[in-house]
């Protein structure tokens, strides 16, 4: 015998709830005067190295904390703390390939935000899933490293379309790779005409000041228009 069924229409994107959570979190952070930067990239593009350089340039100007997301290790949070001395915690995603707004909120609950201007979230190394899940951050930045190729924006369009800044890292190896910076800019522009492209070398620190200046300015603006 066939079981009769009743159909209830839902018609709702799986990402909709997360987007609501993210908007709510963003609003709360705005009220608290805390700026959250979501930093994304493939594994090994240089997120942690870039962060350490950036924090060193900004730590006298801004009160900074870092949340390191990783599937299960503690290495990055320890690296940040040892190199910069700032408040840094590790978030374990328990096998998840991204962080969503709820997980980000739980992470923030573990930080003392009372005297913090800027929180940087180092997202899970992956160009697909983090792009689909709004974390509630004020801005998204991503790092593309030279060995990954200048055509990445074409292969991962969503990631590039959600980012306000694209940092091109490892410029020291440009001579060894067939990576065309102008082509890369054009590819980013095609996906996201508003995005800023900032070439850096996190290893030597070259160009990191441009990124740090952008961030400082943006944090100030954001805190002012409260």
């Amino acid at each position: 015998m066939m079981e009769e069924v009743k159909v209830i229409e839902i018609k709702k994107s799986v990402f909709a709830e997360n987007e609501k959570d993210a908007d709510a979190l963003r609003k709360e952070l705005k009220n608290k005067g805390v700026y959250l930067l979501n930093l994304m990239s493939s594994p090994g593009s240089g997120k942690t190295t870039t962060l350490i350089r950036t924090i060193s340039l900004l730590k006298d100007k801004l009160r900074i904390a870092v949340m390191e997301a990783d599937i299960d290790s503690n290495v990055d949070a320890v690296r940040i703390k040892e190199a910069t001395g700032i408040q840094s915690i590790q978030l374990h995603t328990g096998g998840m390939c991204h962080l969503d707004a709820e997980m980000t909120r739980q992470g923030l609950d573990n930080l003392d935000l009372s005297d913090i201007d800027l929180v940087v979230l180092e997202n899970v190394g992956n160009l697909v899933c983090p792009a689909e899940f709004d974390t509630g951050s004020c801005r998204n930045a991503m790092i593309l490293s030279v060995p990954e190729g200048d055509d990445k924006p074409l292969k991962y369009p969503l990631m590039f379309s959600v980012c306000d800044v694209v940092v091109v890292n490892k410029t020291d190896v440009l001579p060894y790779f067939d990576f065309d910076l102008e082509k890369c800019r054009a590819n980013v522009r095609m996906r996201n005409p508003q995005a800023r492209v900032i070439p850096i070398c996190a290893k030597t620190g070259e160009g990191v000041d441009v990124f740090a200046d952008w961030l400082l300015e943006d944090v100030k603006n954001w805190k002012q228009n409260k």
Binding site: V5, K6, I8, I10, K12, S13, V14, F15, C129
Partner: protein
């Protein structure tokens, strides 16, 4: 594993919808999955089986997938074409000034509940 994460969001939404509708058991969930949404349907149904059976309300509940074909629109010649076949570049006028109209959905279309 991207699909497992997605399954947890589906479960959360389905449970909320069931509650809203005062339903105690859900026997089917129908999804609209876009052709270029990056979701692999077989992985999604595998993950679903594993996770849904852990939920009393969703034991044995079947996940049905409608694939939504991806269609791109060309801003220059105003024509539509198959995304998967032609990609970013318009096959009619060679323009790159194109955008996806549909095919990116990860959407719960409806739920089915036993009619008692």
């Amino acid at each position: 594993m991207h699909e497992l994460g997605i399954v947890f969001y589906i479960i959360r939404d389905v449970k909320a919808a069931a509650e809203e509708n005062h339903v105690e058991r859900v026997s089917g969930v129908v999804m609209n999955i876009g052709e270029v949404s990056t979701i692999v349907p077989e992985y999604l149904t595998d993950c679903w089986r594993w996770a849904a059976d852990k939920e009393t309300m969703l034991k044995g509940c079947e996940l049905k997938i409608n694939i939504v074909p991806a269609v791109t629109f060309c801003g220059d010649c105003k024509k539509e074409y198959e995304t998967v076949r032609y990609g970013r570049t318009c096959p009619y006028c060679n323009s790159e000034h194109t955008w996806l109209l549909r095919g990116n959905e990860v959407e719960i279309k409806e739920i089915e509940v036993p009619n008692t």
